[in-house]
Assembly symmetry: C2
């Protein structure tokens, strides 16, 4: 039976549009509502408690649109809020970490894997916990790369500058014998070329591709596909100057407007 209810997707900002982009490509008949919390981005430098509160507020807000599934397209929010979101919502909630971890583990040969992300994602240990939950003997090196997001947002992904930052951060991983690296931040797929050119030996796992696979599989499993037509709404909490530039950077599909909304505060 067709289920025409929309799929909710959220991120701290516009980066989650890399995930939405993959989802739209795979599931063109679905209706998507994306919320980018641009008034409070970046979550990567907030405390876990604050990230949890923001995530619950957004889930409550998107819940009002009768969504059939919630995709947490933000590594930091997945790290700090996924169990609580699952406990509170009666619909499936898919985070960005588990699908990436499963792909990572299937692709390493050296059994030495790398996780890169924002400070908060790395500090949370969420990827490491997920990896060891599946394979306790895996050698995991986690590394925060705080400059990658601003480099991408500045559009400097293909400059020498990006390659220098990549080298500065990732040499330690290579020296340790890591052969597979998960891009634990939605912005990082845009640095794929810079990373591959500096470190051709790495197999890179793109979480946005993996989460889109997971969502597609879950929709098939539950027989919850929409009969179409598909659509995309993009909401943000602050229409900043950057919003439309970043939309173009991360989501190369036509969308009529970007709507500004207010997400009510919860007192948790």
């Amino acid at each position: 039976m067709a289920d025409s209810r929309p799929i909710g997707v959220f991120d701290s900002g516009m980066g989650g549009l890399t995930v939405l982009s993959e989802l739209v490509r795979r599931l063109p008949n679905e209706r998507f509502i994306y919320l980018g919390d641009t008034a409070r981005v970046p979550y990567g430098s907030r405390s876990p408690r604050t990230v949890l509160r923001y995530s619950l507020e957004i889930a409550a807000f998107l819940g009002q649109s009768d969504i059939k599934m919630l995709v947490v397209a933000c590594n930091t929010a997945t790290a700090h809020a996924l169990p609580e979101l699952r406990a509170r919502m009666s619909i499936p909630v898919i985070g960005v970490i588990d699908p990436g971890v499963r792909a990572l583990l299937s692709r390493t040969k050296s059994r030495k894997v790398g996780v890169i992300g924002t400070r908060s994602t790395i500090k949370s240990g969420a990827y490491e916990t997920a990896i060891r939950g599946i394979d306790p003997g895996m050698d995991v090196t986690s590394l925060a790369c705080p400059l990658f997001v601003p480099i991408v947002e500045e559009g400097w992904m293909n400059k020498d500058f990006a390659r220098l930052a990549v080298r500065e951060y990732l040499t330690a991983l290579r020296d340790h014998g890591v052969d597979a690296v998960v891009l634990g931040c939605t912005h990082y797929p845009l640095l794929r070329r810079a990373i591959e050119s500096e470190f051709p030996s790495f197999t890179l796992v793109d979480s946005s591709v993996e989460i889109a696979d997971a969502v597609t599989a879950m929709i098939q499993e539950r027989d919850a596909a929409s009969a179409g037509p598909g659509s995309v709404r993009i909401l943000v909490t602050d229409v900043t100057e950057q919003v439309s530039d970043l939309k173009r950077l991360f989501f190369p599909h036509p969308v009529e407007t970007i709507e500004e909304v207010v997400v009510p505060e919860l007192h948790v």
Copy 2:
């Protein structure tokens, strides 16, 4: 007559501590209350309306501590909120832009000046407006340098990487004949060495030094100095992992604790 009421200082985050540091050095007998809005940093990528709301909320919050003066140690907040803050508060409110502009104009010989800052500060045109208000014929080039803040916060100020970013951004200023540049962001003084080594011909104006001069002058004028002892309280809206690292980076004075506070929302 001595006035022992504290001086309130605020910034979107920890960067304003460069201003506080100068203030404490000049005015060791004063009591300072600093508020860093680390739960909502960076203001530089928010809309003007949002920055105004946050600034009014913080002013109201600090106003409860019976401050004798409010120092807006944030270029973005100064750009978007200074007139409104002055209209609403019965105490002097000093922003970071005017003192920097006066110093800039006194130091250029080529009559071509540069302003560098965050996207939002530059977009606001606040420096340009202030410059032309004093000297309508001045040749002003304004330039957003969004990567400078994350480079400083990563502690990479003295790496090749910082010099490459400096060159990438500032070559256009030099080519245009600019001889004096105001560092229109509280983080930028930490890049002074990198800028000077790439562009020795620039005279750099450090707003934190200039605002400290302005505050000192105003206290003398009003005969409002405190008899001492001086003290410093540092408040933040989110105690993130980075808070104590940044405190060390920007404020090399002893402070017992960093306190977390909640700034109530205003509905404006």
